[in-house]
Symmetry: C2
Subunit: 356 residues, 2 copies
Amino acid sequence: MSNTANAKLQIEKVKESRVSSIDFSDLAFGKTFTDHMFYCDYKNGAWQEPKIVPYQPMTIDPSARVFHYGQAVFEGMKAYKDDNGKVFLFRPDQNFKRINKSAARLAIPEFPENYFFEGLKTLVNMDKAWIQPGVGNSLYLRPFVIAIDSAIAAAPSESYRFMIICAPAKAYYKGTVRVLIAEKFSRSASGGVGFAKAAGNYAAQFYPTKLAQDRGYQQVIWTDADTHTYLEEAGTMNVFFRINDTLITAPISDRILDGVTRKSLIQLAADNDIPCEVRPIKVSEIVEASKDGSLKEIFGAGTAAVISPISAFEFQEQVYELPEVNEHSYSSRLKSKMLNIQHNLAEDKNGWRMEI
Amino acid sequence: MSNTANAKLQIEKVKESRVSSIDFSDLAFGKTFTDHMFYCDYKNGAWQEPKIVPYQPMTIDPSARVFHYGQAVFEGMKAYKDDNGKVFLFRPDQNFKRINKSAARLAIPEFPENYFFEGLKTLVNMDKAWIQPGVGNSLYLRPFVIAIDSAIAAAPSESYRFMIICAPAKAYYKGTVRVLIAEKFSRSASGGVGFAKAAGNYAAQFYPTKLAQDRGYQQVIWTDADTHTYLEEAGTMNVFFRINDTLITAPISDRILDGVTRKSLIQLAADNDIPCEVRPIKVSEIVEASKDGSLKEIFGAGTAAVISPISAFEFQEQVYELPEVNEHSYSSRLKSKMLNIQHNLAEDKNGWRMEI
């Protein structure tokens, strides 16, 4: 069934772009935003007129439900520019489907498909001067929906705002990442919202991650809440393990995000004759594999980081070091293949690129 | 260790109160707010000057972390007025401790004790004309903290806003409540944030609750995520069961909120020679007790609802009806005792009232 709506996109342009004032060589992730933003309000049971306006603060009541009950979901996507100035999105259909899946789980009305794509494409096109060409550069796109009812009853909001904001980006994680495997804290419950990009899932990880950082780790790898014996995902990434020549990643579930990078890497592995198993993987299996030398790699996978190699993990107060990454590592090979597809430098046999 | 700060509370009063325009006989919960609000911003590593200003919308960037990562916690409290016009809070020390416990779990800096109490008391005193006397009437107080950094990196915010807003209230649930016992969806994981009043905990319940409502139930009683065999809490309430003459409620844990009403009822039960057991309670135990007639009552307990009697529950597609509530029911007796203490109509032997 198609999910479309009929209002015309309204556009108000900035008088003068800020892009010439930006030092693209020195950008902190997610703090600089482009000239414009997209938004569309839901009220009286329907999504209203979608709009692109100059990026600006919003006015919102202190009683807005998003502040009190965390009724908010988001997506992370990127736009890429090739050396000829062409601009591409990467599998935006996946993000569209997922934001509505996340929304449904949080009792947020689904967003119309045509508003999403028209808004996204028009916005990226208007602000394409903000996209630097070159592998590693991108424009990070953040669609999100928040509950804006001025009412503090603990019930779903009757009004929402869908927005897209854009931030020029370089690679998210710099350097190698050391991770702590969770033994006490948890990210999500079976039957909960772990599979959704629900805002509250992220804040819940900040404190355990801070504790890990205080001990010299950049991220936590989450395990199942019941037994802490199965490896699930990292804070903002899915996780892959390489034992001997086989990649392994956990199956998605209601606790694990259905990552676009994750599923693309599984396909790329198949395309490149890299054996890849999607199955539950125990902490004990990677501990044993590390001890006998068969654990070759661990890496995180996500839109922001693309692929983030992990250099060591700690579990039960033991630290396990991984071999150094080189150009033959799966993480290097797959990352290069992903980036080349995203930046229009390689054939796109799976039809993942969408030119704007 | 005392947790205090030194700035003087700044006050800006409304020119004219709106209170005379309010129809207190016809108030939807949480949609009408008093003349003033309290707020205090955190930046540069410290809580800044606390302020009371006219209630008003706020200006916030679309990239504010609260919108993206749900870094937000809150409290629910009430102020009561007796027939002589005296105003009381109920165990505000418990709410103060809990908001900072919630904050710590979400990597939010703790709020100073003196700012909390001076802000709360001054605000309630300024807006006390909004409190109707009479049992059942109250002023609902909503302290909350939100992450306001303009940055979408998935990490704790460096700036926050602590606020208190106030809404005149009557009893929260009207009529009897039928509940569905969760068999698939979950509220929280061991090692997660279920014990905290974290915003995201609430949005995660809206969809399963809506499904329950579509089937004629007002609330869900959550069970443990691992096995769905233990009764934990209702959406916005702790839950008590009466089997024969004994009250039973689940122990608090990292999955269950340490409710102020819950702990007050446990003490009131002791004060009134009502046997009360705090122990894990299985769904099968109340199913059996319902079948053999020993299950006399189930009720929810929380600040908003005080006590909310449950008239029926469904589990595994079987509906179990509870006996009708009368004035001898524990729910009636305990609710009456709580309200009388809160409204200064009974002795306060535990020292729970704080006069403003």
